[in-house]
């Protein structure tokens, strides 16, 4: 097991290395001078030269790359052109918003997807199965921005059931400890604020969760069907166990594995989807920040976000794979 983990960790190193080269190239191949970009509207030849020296842009490329790597290893991502604050600070301020949204979307997708998938598997080829298939087809075919705008128009603008944007009513003042609205409100025992935060989360979480919902539904259905045809399930049935017990104890326990793997793979998609979802719902997170940074040509921020998102994606999948290997030792040798 340890050997497997070490092997997987070692395998991640060249990927990280490649990533750092690509991202370094991204900044340096961009049209224009990073120093001018950094100075923006205040660029004068004097200042530009000064900043170039400060950033080490007058050094040979390989030295600049090594310096960049060194910075990364110290957790220094540089500064935002727009706010002039350290990117890592800004990131940490916004990241909880993205996590809250992503987790909300996952809860929606898993909480609805697994029962739907099981239901469909139990009623194969029936009307219910057909409906589930249609839902999952729509889930992967409707882009987040179309679904998000539609939900927003119907439930916020027209019906006014749910808030249209933001993470919390601006009127509600809460103390920020962790920057997770739902956690901070609970820590302070501020229940109305908690529910207010929750009501803000619903629409964006549904919009973002629609694609994983479709995929999880499909996978659950397929994997339940696979397991149902396995011998031990037939045996269990033959023993006269109730259908419910068969479903709960025997089928789901074994159908879980592929479902969990797929959930792990969804993390990349969720982070990418957050970019669009947060923009639609004015959700203060890393995704909306990414779009702002793109629009402002704040490329140091874009570079850093791509790096961190890729890191998260790699780590989550490593964890999923290792967890998988724990449960299913055969995988280690595959």
């Amino acid at each position: 097991m340890t050997k497997y983990i070490i092997r997987r960790l070692l395998a991640a190193i060249p990927v990280l290395f490649g990533l750092s080269i690509i991202l370094f190239a991204f900044i340096h191949l961009l049209p224009g001078d990073p120093a001018v970009a950094l100075l923006g509207q205040h660029a004068t030849p004097e200042l530009t030269a000064e900043i170039r020296a400060q950033l080490g842009l007058d050094q040979p490329l390989w030295q600049q790359y090594l310096a960049y790597l060194g910075q990364l290893l110290h957790g220094d991502l540089g500064k935002s052109i727009i706010t002039n604050r350290p990117i890592i600070d800004e990131f940490l301020l916004r990241f909880p918003g993205t996590v809250e949204l992503t987790v909300g979307a996952l809860i929606f997708a898993v909480g609805l997807g697994i029962p739907l998938g099981r239901y469909a598997a139990r009623h194969v080829q029936g009307f219910g199965d057909g409906m589930v298939t249609v839902i999952s087809l729509l889930g992967i075919s409707i882009p987040i921005f179309v679904l998000g705008l539609t939900l927003q128009y119907i439930f916020a603008v027209q019906l006014k059931w749910l808030p249209a944007s933001g993470r919390l009513d601006p009127r509600i003042a809460i103390e920020y400890h962790t920057n997770f609205v739902l956690i901070d409100t609970l820590l302070d025992g501020n229940i109305p604020a908690f529910f207010n935060g929750l009501s803000h989360l619903i629409l964006p979480a549904i919009a973002l969760g629609s694609i994983p919902l479709a995929i999880i539904t499909r996978i659950t259905r397929a994997s339940v069907l696979d397991v149902t045809n396995e011998d031990y399930v037939r045996t269990a049935r033959a023993k006269g166990l109730s259908e419910r017990r068969v479903g709960g104890r025997h089928i789901m326990r074994n159908a879980w594995l592929p479902v969990v793997t797929v959930i792990g793979l969804q993390v990349g998609g969720l982070l990418a989807g957050a970019v669009i979802t947060e923009t639609i719902f004015s959700w203060n997170g890393v995704g909306r920040w990414t779009v702002q940074a793109i629009q402002d040509h704040d490329y140091f921020v874009v570079q850093s976000i791509i790096l961190i998102f890729a890191l998260i994606f790699l780590v989550v999948n490593l964890v999923v794979d290792i967890g998988y290997a724990f449960i299913n030792p055969r995988i280690r040798y595959a």
């Binding site: 087809l137 729509l138 921005f145 927003q152 970019v275 669009i276 629009q295 890729a310 790699l314």
Partner: protein
């Protein structure tokens, strides 16, 4: 090729594969959802090709005096913020979407194909290096990779095409390589190898055709995501360089500020994107089931 037996063997092989394709086609024609998908796609292609004949108005021209008109007999989908006919813009938008999506998938097939075939056929160090690059690209969430590339190359349809291609190419490379490796151990390939077939001959004559089915399915499904990604870039303000170009995602994002006054400007482009994506998804699923009967339940 040099042997006498070869032509006959090849013919037999070709006949067998023709049979495989015909079977697949027959299965596809019996697959209801896939036919629905095919229908959607046909509509989509027809709109793109015949836009100049169908469209009642010029998609670029219009007058501010006519802006934000509700759907009516004169403008069945209403008019947009510049007073242009929305229906005509949707039709021409199909052109843009189709051109960029198909172009990007072809480009991705070429890039991913070369990378995957090289990795799968050569193996060893080359395989390792290529697949690590693929890993790096796959680690970056799709739309972010596309965003980064458009930011780097600048706005414009060719740039968008490249960006979307870059998100699909590593997927294709991985699929092709995986399928090549799997095929390598299959009996007829081992047999051909033991008969002394050359490496390139093996690749082009035996392994690639058998890996093709997986790629066709993946490419069809990728067309759906390509259409969504192109619109997504437009939605994020990274659409075509000429802001007048009728591109569905750009049309959507321009309309968001007017969601109260003109919700139909959100509805129609949104519907167009969804229909196109559903079409390719249904066809892709259908192709998978037809090309690999084992998938069918």
């Amino acid at each position: 090729m040099a042997t006498v037996a070869a032509p006959r063997a090849r013919r037999a092989e070709a006949r067998a594969s023709r049979g495989l394709w015909r079977d697949a086609f027959n299965r596809l024609m019996r697959n209801g959802p896939a036919l629905v998908g095919l229908f959607f796609i046909t509509v989509f292609f027809a709109a793109a090709i015949f836009a100049p004949f169908i469209a009642p108005y010029d998609p670029i021209a219009g007058s501010l005096a006519d802006r934000l008109q509700l759907p009516s007999a004169a403008h069945i989908m209403g008019t947009d913020l510049q007073g242009r006919d929305e229906f005509s813009r949707i039709l021409y938008g199909a052109r843009v979407s189709l051109f960029v999506a198909v172009g990007s998938v072809i480009m991705a097939l070429i890039m991913g194909g070369i990378a995957g075939a090289t990795a799968g056929a050569v193996g060893g160090k080359v395989d390792n290096v290529v697949m690590r690059i693929v890993d790096v690209m796959l680690a970056i969430p799709g739309i972010l990779l596309a965003i980064g590339i458009v930011a780097w190359l600048g706005q414009g349809l060719p740039q968008i095409m490249i960006a979307v291609a870059a998100t699909n190419a590593p997927i294709f490379a991985r699929i092709l390589r995986g399928s090549l490796l799997a095929n390598r151990e299959v009996d007829y390939v081992s047999a051909a190898r033991s008969l002394g077939a050359s490496r390139s001959r093996m690749l082009f004559r035996h392994m690639l055709p058998n890996s093709l089915t997986a790629l066709i399915v993946a490419a069809t499904l990728a067309l759906a995501t390509a259409i969504i990604d192109v619109a997504g870039l437009g939605f994020l303000g990274l659409g075509p360089a000429d802001p007048r170009t009728p591109e569905w995602g750009t049309m959507l994002t321009d309309a968001t500020r007017f969601i109260r006054q003109a919700p139909y400007l959100i509805f129609f482009p949104g519907l167009a994107i969804v229909v196109a994506a559903i079409g390719f998804n249904l066809l892709g699923d259908g192709l998978r089931e037809s090309l690999d009967p084992r998938m069918k339940r």
